[in-house]
């Protein structure tokens, strides 16, 4: 009954992480009950709170999917944040500068597609450095995060800055490049649809196709895979392109569906939280859905926690880190990857 274990262990990791952070908060003198109550209320308390949670779950889910397939291939892609920023940047260049007058039926797919392509190529830099020059993807993806974030900052203060030059942000997206909202909601955009379809597709790719088998074989043992005629180098390139494309798509959906323009601090760390999402999901594409919802709830409840109980919103990063530690140290022994 491995699926029971696969469900119970992440739940236990979440429970222990929440309990530990409760103890830490109590030691700081916070009212733990009030804080957790506010967290829950801010995430699910009313329709708008729940909409907020759903909207935040979309990027976490998409980046988490990309990270989980990279990890399955034994590639430590820590670069989700940078890939997301580059995806958002490409989508912005395309829809506010290059093709701003194009009709919606062509502009919207191109906007999202350019984000995925750019994110994939940004991941591809790490792949090229690893395969070509032997540079660990851990370091290159981290360094590329800094470069991407600063690149966006440069773009919105310079070449992409809005027409009036008043704020460091891009022009707003033309209506045709924006994802529609679901009728009757205030914030929930149609980017939710690919976010709910892609886990199933990725599951088919990873577990029901030869391509997925090759990726997982390299993750289990590169030497054995090479012996079986699989090139770990080629799989490294493929999985980093794929992984980056998921994050880039997340960035494009974020600017097209939520903010409607590009600015600095677009992501609030989605790329890093997505690592926790992937691990809590035990690198399973479908498990990423509840894991993304959990971390999205933490993120959208953290504001209420700060307002009501005075617990800083950054505290949820402590909970995130504890979940990663517990998932990696107790729920996910090395032998099972």
């Amino acid at each position: 009954m491995s699926w029971i274990r696969a469900t119970l262990q992440p739940l236990a990791a979440v429970f222990v992480a929440l309990a530990l952070s409760g103890v830490l908060l109590a030691m700081l003198g916070a009212d733990v009950g009030l804080a957790f109550g506010a967290l829950l209320g801010g995430a699910f308390g009313d329709a708008l709170a729940f909409e907020n949670t759903l909207v935040r779950a979309v990027p976490l889910l998409l980046v988490g999917l990309g990270i989980s397939c990279a990890f399955r291939c034994g590639i430590w892609n820590i670069g989700g944040e940078g890939q997301l920023y580059i995806g958002a940047l490409a989508a912005t260049v395309l829809s506010t500068r290059l093709l701003s007058d194009a009709p919606g039926w062509i502009l919207l797919p191109l906007t999202l597609g350019s984000g995925a392509l750019a994110g994939g190529l940004w991941g591809g830099i790490a792949a090229a450095l690893k395969v070509g020059r032997g540079v660990s993807e851990v370091l290159s993806t981290i360094l590329l995060n800094f470069i991407a974030v600063l690149g966006v900052a440069y773009a919105v203060q310079g070449p992409l800055q809005e027409f009036s030059n008043a704020y460091p942000q891009s022009d707003s997206f033309p209506e045709a490049a924006r994802l529609a909202l679901f009728p009757g909601t205030h914030r929930v955009h149609t980017g939710l649809i690919p976010a709910l379809l892609l886990p199933g597709l990725l599951w088919m790719l990873m577990f029901r196709s030869a391509a997925g088998l090759r990726l997982r074989a390299v993750g289990l043992s590169p030497e054995a895979a090479r012996y079986a005629g699989i090139s770990p180098e080629r799989e490294t390139i493929r999985v980093l392109l794929l992984s980056g494309a998921f994050a880039g798509l997340a960035g494009a959906i974020e600017v097209s569906g939520v903010t409607g323009r590009l600015f600095e601090n677009l992501s609030s760390g989605y790329g890093f939280t997505a690592i926790a999402v992937a691990l809590l999901a035990r690198l399973h594409p479908v498990g990423v859905i509840p894991a993304a919802l959990f971390f999205a709830a933490l993120a959208s409840g953290s504001g209420a926690m700060q307002r009501v109980a005075g617990v800083p919103s950054v505290t949820v990063q402590v909970i995130e880190a504890l979940v990663i530690f517990l998932s990696a140290g107790f729920a996910l022994p090395r032998s099972e990857r």
Partner: protein, 291 residues
């Protein structure tokens, strides 16, 4: 040397010092086979501890000690999961970095609410004109680590543990104890590097202020080929690049600010691309050990 050149050289020394200190700790940890990508977080923890203690007590020495201790405490969390639970070091290092961001952010907003008047930390003293205590510490550390790894019994044992933990174990070398000690030493150095950031380079704590210096230190170990003096040369190169960037800004060179800020990361990537492939890491690096 004229005044401007001297000021520039001092600035290079100042900006390379935290990189050199953190890299020496990482060097010892990696030589023992522990890949600690959590030094960024340990540096951040040290920086915050140094700021909090220095502003509260006014004692720079106490602040430095507590910063080193904080780095070591964070390293013990990392060591528990990686060494005892045999969890993946890259995942745990990432978790530690996120943990440090959240924990220092929480403590910072708790202890130093934004509406309270801005406090600056006292600065570490110059032992000679222009020669700061941290620079002396870094130089002593480099010499000590080089001597330790090359010429002491424990140093050689640590290198054996990093190369072939099984073989070292069968010779009676205490693998786990040496890996624990090396990891704690790495955390201690990262904490001290964080203290240098607050007590010498900046005078206050800003959330996320390490901004990748831990990862640059990690890269230095790699392209320094695990040799202390080459790592120092790398640290000076990066200190030089950062100093140059500030100098260009001060001179009003018309380059966008964000692109200038990008240079250390781009430079690190380029140097890694040039040298990383040729470096042979310790054979048992990042591999778990079970006796």
């Amino acid at each position: 040397m004229d005044g401007a050149m001297f000021a520039f050289a001092l600035s290079v020394l100042r900006l390379s010092t935290p990189l050199g200190i953190a890299a020496m700790g990482e060097l010892v940890a990696e030589r023992a086979g522990v890949l600690n990508i959590g030094i960024e977080g340990m540096m951040l923890g040290g920086a915050f501890a140094a700021y909090a203690v220095a502003t509260a007590s006014g004692s720079v020495l106490l602040a430095i000690c507590v910063a080193g201790l904080s780095g070591a405490i964070l390293a013990s969390v990392f060591a528990f999961f990686v060494l005892e639970r045999r969890a993946d070091p890259i995942v745990c290092g990432t978790a530690l970095n996120i943990f440090a961001l959240g924990a220092t952010g929480t403590a910072n907003r708790w202890l130093f609410p934004p509406d309270v008047v801005f406090q600056t930390a006292p600065q570490a003293m110059d032992l000679l004109p222009g020669v700061n205590a941290f620079a002396v510490l870094a130089i002593v550390l480099v010499i000590a680590v080089a001597y330790f790894l090359n010429s002491t019994r424990t140093g050689l044992e640590i290198r054996a543990v990093g190369e072939r933990a099984e073989a070292a174990h069968s010779q009676g070398v205490p693998v786990m104890r040496l890996r624990w000690m090396s990891t704690l030493f790495g955390g201690l150095c990262a904490g001290l590097a964080g203290a240098a950031l607050v007590l010498w380079i900046s005078d206050s704590f800003v959330e996320g202020m390490t901004s990748g210096r831990g990862f640059i230190a990690l890269s230095l170990v790699l392209f320094g080929g695990y040799r202390p003096l080459r790592i120092v040369a790398g640290a000076l190169l990066f200190g030089g690049a950062s100093a140059l960037q500030f100098r260009l800004q001060a001179l009003g060179v018309d380059l966008p600010y964000n692109l200038l800020l990008m240079t250390p990361y781009v430079l690190t990537l380029i140097v890694l691309a040039l040298f990383a492939g040729r470096v042979r890491a310790p054979a048992d690096l990042a591999k778990p050990f079970q006796s």
